[in-house]
Amino acid sequence: MSVRIYEADVLVIGGGATGSGVMRDLALRGINCILIDRKDLNAGASGGNHGLLHSGGRYATADAETAAECRHEGDILKRLAPECIDDCGGLFVAVDGDDEAFAAKFPEHCRVAGIPCEALSAAEAREREPALPEAILAAYAVPDATIDPFRIVLENVGHAERLNDSSYLPHMEIEGFEIIDGTVAKALCRDRRSGEAVEIRALQFINASGAWAEKVARLAGCSDVSLLYSKGTLLISNTRVTNGVVNRLRLPDDGDILVPGGTVSLLGTSSVTVDDPDGIAPTVPEVDRILAEGAAMLPVLNETRFVRAFSGVRPLLKSAGSEADGRKANRGFALFDHEDQGLSNFATVAGGKFTTFRLMAEKAGDLVAARLGNAEPCKTNLEPLPSGDALRWTEPGAAARDWYKRADPTDMVLCECEMVARSAVDTILADAPGAEDHMSLKAIALRSRIGKGACQGAFCSMRVTSHLYDRGVYDSPDGLRQMRDFVNERYKGIRPVLWGAQMPQTELAEILHCGLAGMDLAAAEEGADSK
């Protein structure tokens, strides 16, 4: 059987914030990379988070070093990637029942970490955030912001691709490495969609696979990476609940942070230690607890419509006492050069925060550049992140505004909730990272707001699938199976928030998908075939 072979200076493993950051960092130094992911961009923690660009306030009390890193990195990203960021500001608020002594120490902790922190009266806090309750014990304003984690990763990859023909290969799983005399010669991969064996030859290998970094390191024979998997669940509301970020001023717990995400808000998170980063899903008890905690800080959340819950796994570096409680683990990151494991061209960068991804990429990039004898310094702290035409559709409202402005009656809207038009989907098909690969409904959803509105894919899954058949992207019943998988995947997130308006919404989806399209019967037939 033939083996597909790729070659590059560097193979970067993991299409999250860190991996895409490394790819861009190296491309800016003139180093050619291939980025691969077992699934697609942001499949792990980079896609399963609040989208909070931390001021550092959250860690000011327990981890001043991480807090200071967050502040510094947040400033850089605000300056260089403003189109990915909503500099909405944030509040830390202690409400009735919270520890006043803990709250009183907050300004001093912020001062030590270098985080601007302004004390607000209860009235001032409510003026900023009218949804706050009457009984506020303490409130401080900090420079929290939000970041579109999908946009920035797409832009990282898109920029690297344009800079020096670095490339991105989705659905590429590492199965092993060929190591000769302490040097990794090639990565042995499999294309998870075609089943083909693939070899990627490179001079340097960077493992930036987040929660899977320990597993990937072990495939290269390295036993020095030891991670703790902390599952976090979040809820997404149908509308934006607050103007800025609202944090509960206490030791981190469930339902402490409400973060705006453009036109929606994200509430979370839980922290549950799990054995395996794969196969996680939000549960009803988690959702109940997050909501109860969140509503203590913002009672309006009791009446808020939530459209979905989702989970991510934080890849935390193990430290003393962290086994039992992920919240006690270090939120810092580490770069493993694996030289003590007997390897000279393999490195792992792990841990850290979304907010500090650029710094993680810089450190990894410095190591790789030095190993390659490349003297170019890191430029990601100076070079603004450009914006690609096909990469701007993850921002809520962007597609809608674009469509309305162009007023082209022939440009059909495929997704009504988020108003994503055919033309926007076509730019993704043509130019978004991964476009040279087969761009499925799921891949388009990742690169746009398709499936993310109130209907959670009820209508747009069918319309976009139809469009992909029209465009010749799908040419077999596989497109229908992908549509069903997409809807099933959305349902995992809908199920824990099935109350209020989301219940009739979901019944409508069932009528469409089962009653009208017979997608459930198709599933049964397929099952019968395989048995």
Binding site: N238, T239, R240, T263, R305, P396, G397, A400, R401, Y404, A407, P409, V413, E416, C417, E418, M419, G453, A454, C455, A458, F459, A501, P504, Q505, L508
Partner: protein, 431 residues
């Protein structure tokens, strides 16, 4: 910021929270699109009701505050009637209209509202109270002279304590006063104790269409005060749709005290026929001329409900014969708006209005009816216009014309809205 502050960008989600009942906020939308598929304004200016909601959810307040679609939506509430979640887009359209700067609003609507404010008559065609009284007296004099059978017919004005006070659309006194006579004859025939009011008599409210809630309220207050002063038991709204809705809804919306019941003339036509006071029948329709009816949104879906549609059908079937009546589909509360309401007729957007009205035209054509009967002046004008524009051969007629025709009391000069086929049918005998 109030919902009707001028020239401002509204926060539509906030407006929706303020205006819409609990549980029916835009947040409840399931995106099913029933509203959009049944809205004749869908597609105009790239908009439809679902899109309006989604744009509000996406914070596209500037776009919603400036789209001319709010003048193409007739606020017919068909979307709200069908919405499984009970969401009413029309109220938000009203708020959006109100936020437009007056100079940017459609001039026809603004001018008509301004005319209404000129005088206590509240006439959009600028007829003052004394003009109205004079025109009524002159028209009555002509009637007395030309039709001796009605030589004693009386048209009371400002008769305190009359059982009914009845309003009058300005179009008749201003343009075609002879069209007032059929209604007078009917009231005379049934022996109704009625009166006009010289103040607030006009049956139109363009101020409501401008989205200026204060002006809407002023209009309704003037009229309610005038009717209260006459101490009538019942206010009967003439054959007009929105003039009923504006007062019926306005009394509740603005918390006004009305010492009278608000009723539709169609209800009384039906009642008088049932009581035998109005002995109409279809004997005159020997050629089996076919009729359909247009249910005015304002009178059926938006206010009285299907009972008004039933009364309308009872009256029409009695007049033309059951076998000569063909209903439009859909109809009653689910009827499509014709596109003449909400000020659209006066908004100067003819091509959009006709694109909207095409759906109604197709409905009418599908009935194969020769006549469309409708107790609404805006429906009347719009259905006539789209008929001319798209080449329909039907005729649009008031109910009073047909009632008098059936009774054999419709004079030759009162047949403007009949086709040549009925021009000579059942003429009054020469005396």
């Amino acid at each position: 910021m109030g919902a009707h502050s001028r020239g401002n960008t509204l926060d539509f989600l906030k407006v929706a929270n303020d205006l819409l009942p609990d549980g029916a906020s835009y947040d409840a939308c399931v995106g099913c699109g029933i509203c959009a598929s049944g809205c004749p304004a869908s597609g105009l200016f790239g908009m439809d009701p679902r899109r309006f909601i989604n744009m509000a959810m996406l914070g596209m307040n500037e776009e919603l505050s400036t789209t001319p679609w709010v003048w193409a939506c007739t606020q017919c509430k068909r979307c709200a009637y069908l919405c499984p979640m009970g969401i009413d887009v029309s109220q938000l359209v009203g708020a959006a209209r109100g936020a437009w700067a007056t100079e940017d609003k459609p001039k026809g609507i603004v001018r008509s509202c301004a005319a209404q404010k000129l005088d206590e008559s509240t006439s959009a065609m600028g007829l003052m109270s004394e003009d109205f009284v004079e025109i009524v007296e002159e028209t009555l004099e002509e009637l007395h002279e030309n039709q001796p059978r009605f030589a004693d017919l009386k048209v009371p004005i400002d008769k305190k304590g009359a059982k009914f006070v009845i309003n009058q659309n300005s179009r008749e006194p201003a343009v075609e006063p002879e069209e007032m006579a059929p209604l007078w004859k009917i009231l005379d025939y049934v022996g109704a104790d009625w009166t006009y009011s010289s103040k607030g008599w006009a049956a139109e409210n363009f101020c409501m269409f401008t989205g200026d809630t204060e002006a809407w309220k002023d209009m309704v207050e003037t009229r309610v005060d005038a009717m209260n002063a006459l101490e009538s038991e019942i206010w009967i709204n003439t054959e007009c749709g929105h003039s009923f809705f504006t007062i019926w809804q306005g009394i509740e919306k603005f918390g006004l005290t009305a010492n009278f019941e608000a009723e539709s003339l169609v209800t009384y036509y039906a009642q008088w026929i049932r009581e035998g006071k109005l002995p109409v029948n279809s004997d005159w329709n020997k050629n089996n001329v076919k009729f359909t009816v247009q249910d005015p949104c304002q009178l059926v879906r938006k206010s009285i409900g299907d009972q008004a549609a039933e009364d309308l059908r009872f009256v029409v079937k009695t007049l033309v014969g059951e076998e000569n009546f063909v209903d439009m589909q859909p109809c009653r509360s689910a009827n499509y708006c014709c596109g003449g309401g909400g000020g659209f007729l006066q908004a100067g957007m003819a091509s959009e209005r006709r694109a909207y009205g095409k759906r109604k035209f197709d409905q009418v054509i599908a009935t194969e009816a020769d006549y469309v009967l409708t107790p609404c002046h805006n429906c009347h004008s719009q259905i006539e216009d789209v008929g001319d524009h798209f080449g329909g051969a039907y005729t649009v007629t008031h109910l009073w014309t047909l009632i008098c025709l059936s009774l054999g009391i419709l004079g030759p000069d009162e047949r403007k809205y009949l086709g040549p086929d009925l021009a000579d049918i059942n003429l009054p005998e020469e005396e």
